[in-house]
Amino acid sequence: MTVLLNLLFLMIAATGASVVLIREPRRQVFAIALNGLVLTLLFTALQAPDVALSELAVGTAAVPLLFMIVLSAVRTAEPGQDTQSGEDA
């Protein structure tokens, strides 16, 4: 159990740091989702299934999704490209 917990702590430190260190917003969203997933595992390991379920639903699904939508809102065209002719998906 201690080994598992320490492993999870390391993973949380790694994914948390990656959220800060990754500078590209779209990749950052996936880093946040991954961090939420590891936190979910930690809460499960600490026998808090209720909190784990909340973290999974909010931290891994809802929040990254909102970020994705917002990013798609601010990036409708590449910089320097005309908004009307932009084909950026």
Partner: protein, 258 residues
């Protein structure tokens, strides 16, 4: 404020606060230690007096139900605030039609993605309903189940596109679910007062321990939370999506729209 002054303020604050923080951290029970006083009390009371197997639900909906009403209205206020901000330029004129942003390519989904979403969507919705209904028996409850239900509708968007998603949900229904859920919770609090009980007093039959219908009033409160969370989260996503698209018709040139 110059950077130097800022550093001085930070140093001053750290000088005062760091010893406090250190002593507080030092006094914490060690990691994994048992802080059993409250937990043991709940474990002793809840199954006997509320016939509920999920202690977290017993705390949320019964023992500290007033707290949950506060959280419910925090969610309502947050969603309302976000919607008001996002609807700024569109106003009340919502449309049930999916609006497209000109110039943005809509990538075709592969058949596999469509199939996966059509299979996973109903299953996710079913799981969400399960989590909502079993609030008093297994981990989960209205909040978790509500978020799962709302992400189940989003699988329609992922698989069949924005227009199909807008066809399957209605903005006004979501408003009704969000507000109605919070209202239902408050009514659950007020109803016992009609028959002389206290606010949120659990007067309904409590049912059998470990049964789906256990917990009495908690079940109804839980449904209220589920409706509010499902409506609120879906509405939030919908408003963000609409914000990324062009308004239905061009703004009035005379400035009639603010």
């Amino acid at each position: 404020m110059s950077p130097r002054l800022r550093l001085c303020v930070l140093a001053l604050a750290a000088l005062v606060l760091l010893p406090c923080a250190a002593s507080a951290i030092g006094a914490l029970p060690e990691f994994g230690g048992r802080i059993a006083a409250y937990g043991a009390a709940i474990n002793a009371i809840a199954p006997a007096e509320r016939h509920v197997a999920n202690m977290v639900s017993a705390i949320n909906f019964d023992i500290r139900g007033l707290d949950t009403i506060g959280e419910e209205f925090m969610l309502l206020a947050a969603v309302t605030g976000t919607v008001v901000l996002l609807r700024g330029s569109r106003g009340e004129g919502t449309t049930d039609r999916a609006v497209r942003l000109p110039g943005r390519a809509a990538p075709r989904r592969s058949d596999l993605v469509v199939l996966a979403c059509r299979v996973a969507g109903p299953l996710t919705a079913l799981f969400g309903l399960y989590v909502v209904l079993h609030a008093t028996v297994t981990p989960g409850g209205g909040f978790q189940g509500g978020v799962i239900l709302s992400s189940a509708t989003l699988l329609i968007y992922l698989g069949d596109g924005y227009a199909a998603w807008r066809d399957s949900i209605r903005s006004h229904w979501l408003d009704g679910m969000e507000g109605g859920g919070a209202l239902l919770f408050v009514l659950c609090g007020l109803a016992p007062m009609l028959v002389g009980g206290a606010f949120l007093e659990n007067l309904l039959p409590l049912g059998r321990f470990r049964d789906l219908f256990s917990g009495g009033l908690m079940l109804i409160e839980n449904l209220g939370v589920a409706a509010a969370v499902t409506g609120g989260f879906t509405q939030l996503v919908l408003e963000f999506m609409e914000e990324t698209r062009e308004p239905d018709q061009p703004d009035d040139p005379d400035g009639a729209t603010p």
